[in-house]
Amino acid sequence: MTIEVRNLVKKFGSFAALDGVDLKVDNGELLALLGPSGSGKTTLLRIIAGLDWPDSGEVSFNGEDALARGARERHVGFVFQHYALFRHMTVFENVAFGLRVQPRAVRKDEAAIRARVKELLDLVQLDWLADRYPSQLSGGQRQRIALARALAIEPRILLLDEPFGALDAKVRKELRKWLRSLHHEINVTSIFVTHDQEEALEVANRVVVMDKGRIEQIGSPDDVYDNPATAFVHGFIGESIVLPVEVTGGAVRLGERQLNLTAGATASGASRLFVRRHDMLVGPPGSGAFDGAVQHVRNFGPVQRAEVSLFGGETIEIDAPRDKELRQGDRIGLVPRRYRIFAG
């Protein structure tokens, strides 16, 4: 099933949750909608599911207008952040719900329903919990049951709204891997919403980065990390050093100092220089674009994180390999191995 979204707009009062969103999702993809809270990612997901309606724009599944149908007829599996399991039903009945509410003409008989639920509980590896109630399960178990319940109706599309957001870090990591392999197995077109970049980069085939109701960039995980299209994406994904610079005809200045960098096609004027922490290479003073003094050093596993005050006045944090120990008070030169300059 392919999904196409065209020029979607949704306002809540004067706040534009979606401000002209276009998106194409290919069949069998596992797509991540990544953005800070309030970026519109959940609203987009809910509109695709039919749980919310846009003010204008189009949504189509396989070229068919999806907005002409309610959530009930869209055959979309939806997994909620807080699970939304039916608390008065056993795990078994939760998973069976979608099968039991089907119109009588197409409803499976009891034996077939039982077989299907068993199959789904096996798929999420929780068949031994069939008779429990949701309140007796852990968060990770509840989310897997919610997923089994959504899959029971053989959805054409699977939508997951911050599926691991309410879980602790360790369970979250396990479930990420598990979701990825599950998707590989069932191969249904899936979109999941997250504000956790690591989650998006690790699980998804493609990542859609959103901010303020707009799509900032669509690309593979490598793409959005290595070639961020906008200042927002650079700042949001991975940790970046940001310095305010002045561009004049391709030359770059930080305060009074001319930097040994080229601005490429960036227009003249006030701009921002973005460098990943680990892309700042350390050399002797005077050898690079920046000179500074090491203020403070901490070790983080394979890297040492140094706080460096530049001679222009700014203080930045860099990650350097530990083969050459930095010490407080060292005077060093810094060369950005890769960098981006964005106007504004």
Binding site: L51, A71, R72, F78, F80, F86
Partner: protein
Amino acid sequence: MTMQIADSVSLSTPDAKARLHAVAARENLRTEPKAVRIAIISVAVLFLTVFVVLPLVVVFARAFSKGIMAYLAALSEPEALAAIRLTLLVAAISVGLNLVFGLVAAWAIAKFEFRGKTFLITLIDLPFSVSPVISGLVFVLLFGAQGYFGGWLRDHNIQILFAVPGIALATTFVTFPFVARALIPLMQEQGTQEEEAAISLGASGLQTFFRVTLPNIKWGVLYGVLLCNARAMGEFGAVSVVSGHIRGETNTMPLLVEILYNEYQFVAAFAIASLLAMLALITLIAKTILERQLDEGHDARDH
């Protein structure tokens, strides 16, 4: 045997000792002298005895003062039977109406955002803040012979005041906050996600209501219905204004109690009153059970 050993071991660990100390410290924190504690508790118990238990005992004592036969005879008077029938009928009507109204109002308030929501919530509480007599008078002003709709009603030969419809209307008005009030916080807390999940799984509106919403709020519904019913059967002020006190026709149980009492028929008056008192006791017990059920539902949601 093993258990005993384990116990003695655990008692001698520093951890267990610390716990014992903590308990002792907490006891000491209650600084009031024993006498003060006893005095405070006695005041509370005495107050309850004088104002609640004693009247209840008096009601039953007076009802049975001429023996059980007189009691049963008083209750099987045609007038008494008519009052019981009318009270049950009116309670059934107003509880039914308020159940529907309460569900709809709670649903609207808990699950949708709309303009004037706060105003609606305030309005629902209105019957609690208005004297029941005023509530009754409103209906007289509306439907009485001199009222706004009085002429039209007379022309069409419809009797509202001094008849069952008027009594049912007044009772419904006075009791309408109960179901809504019980459900609004419950439904607000539960949110809409389970309903959304049901719909995305293909359930229709009715299926969602009966399979998901209703089971989640059933204890709240019962709780609201219980309180609504108790108040509907016991309502005096509003009903007194609109009933007309026609004997055997428009007297509910509380009205009949007053009439019989004023006519010095004490056994009959207290016999009817004892039925209302029993209703109150049953309501109290049922309420305690329902509150426990509601709390359990609450706990289950927390972890």
